[in-house]
Amino acid sequence: MNRNHWQPTAEILTLRERAKMLADVRAFFAERGVMEVDTQCLSQAAVSDPFIDSLEVSYSSYPGAEEQRYYLQSSPEYAMKRLLAADSGPIYQLAKAFRNGEVGRLHNPEFTMLEWYRPRFSAQQLMDEVQALVTAVLGPQHWERLSYRELFKRFVGVDPHQATIDQLKALLEPHFECPFTDDRKDTWLELVMSHLIEPKLIEPVLVFDFPASQAALAEVVEDDQGVKVAARFELYAGGMELANGYQELRDPAEQAERLEADDQQRESSGLPRRPLETRLVSALESGIPACAGVALGFDRLLMIKVGASSIKEVVPFGFERC
């Protein structure tokens, strides 16, 4: 800690914009009859995603008592789905989310996530609502919707569902040396996406039909070419990833399998294994309505609004000053 670094990393003028954006978001959902919730940051379960590391905190019932391990939520997803299963109806949240090790120009280990769920909405309907919300905040812009396949074809000229690892690697090599081996095709798709495509997506683009292997908690369906795809969409704008949405998986058995598969991958990658959110499986067993949900990086949206190049310019105290 440097005692001279007391000042905020954001200008007060930017924090005024931040306050206005928070108010705009709340007004948007109030008008649409979506209830605000604030689920707990602490949980007994950690996120299963092998590429997200939960921050740990210890709780003791009195100083010196045996410590119990809790985890800071990496997104409010699990808790909000438990509310949906308890018949909450449409809900949204401006949540603090925490991710260990994620710090950079576009990442702060503690950030604000706008997440919402819409019972009986299709992914297409939720994309409409994402567009309406972003338009309410940023004003009218030129929007596009492209499937993951169309996006790859347009920007790098390959079909991502057919391309081989070698073909994807060959796209990268002229621009970025990637001298490692990785048998996981998604690694190479993610590299092409983040290194070659994403920086070019300045105006908002909604991308849908992701590879089934990148489904996370989305349903898997077949596209018009008979390829299995995830009913998942992403919003890109300002050259960065802004939101991630799903037609939510509702099958408890499938959910249990995906948690288990994540846990296996954590083990084989030598990552710490942590309590899985089995209560989500129970919630799905009791039944949640067919719904679509999306998580949007509130700080990044504000970056676009104020023209900031780094996330620390839009939060009061960026990581090195928190």
Binding site: F51, G104, E177, P179, T187, S194, E241
Partner: protein
């Protein structure tokens, strides 16, 4: 030297890549919401000057390079090597033509320069941003022409040739910006 993992990379860090010391010019953490983390680094090879981009996975690491910058005084050149001295220890270092490179045209005996050492050998010499050098040869100055445009070449005591205003005369000492190679003012 130790290893540093890609998550700890920072701008300005010096690492060994394919056997050469390299400077991290720019470091960017890249991570999709769903998917792996990468660290994208713009590197400059300190031996060859080559600049390129390389991406590291989150479990990769690099060996740190024993590279440091030291302020030294330029002593003399023997025609083959350039000799420098650490003023506090009087330790002397000899740099070859490759290390001195373009800097040789700004080196005046007794001036302070920055020497980049790799494994204790000079690999680069950086002159001060501004140097003061005497004009050894130029066309005669034009009286009265003090500000209005026009320039002419002037050869300086180190052999460097710079564009100077028409009113500059042989024997004058000039302030030069070594980063651009441009005349700034009379010293």
């Amino acid at each position: 030297m130790g290893n540093v993992s890609s998550g700890q990379f920072k701008t300005g860090m010096k690492v060994m890549i394919d056997g050469d010391p390299c400077n991290m010019v720019e470091v960017e953490f890249v991570k999709p919401g769903k998917g792996q983390a990468f660290t994208r680094v713009r590197l400059r090879n300190l031996m060859t000057g080559r600049i390129w981009e390389r991406t590291f996975k989150s479990n990769e690491s690099a060996e740190t390079a024993d590279v440091m910058d030291r302020d030294m005084e330029y002593l003399y050149s023997d025609g083959e090597m350039w000799h420098f001295m650490e003023p506090s220890t009087f330790e002397q270092y000899a740099a070859d033509e490759k290390a001195v490179a373009d800097c040789s045209q700004w080196l005046k005996e007794g001036d302070k320069v920055m020497i980049t050492l790799f494994n204790d050998n000079p690999i680069a010499v950086t002159p001060p941003n501004f140097v003061e050098l005497e004009v050894t040869e130029t066309d005669p100055g034009l009286k009265g022409d003090t500000a209005q445009g026009g320039s002419k070449p002037a050869t300086l005591s180190t052999g460097a040739v710079v564009r100077v205003p028409l009113f500059i005369n042989q024997g004058e000492v000039l302030k030069i910006d070594t980063r651009t190679g441009e005349y700034v003012s009379r010293a």
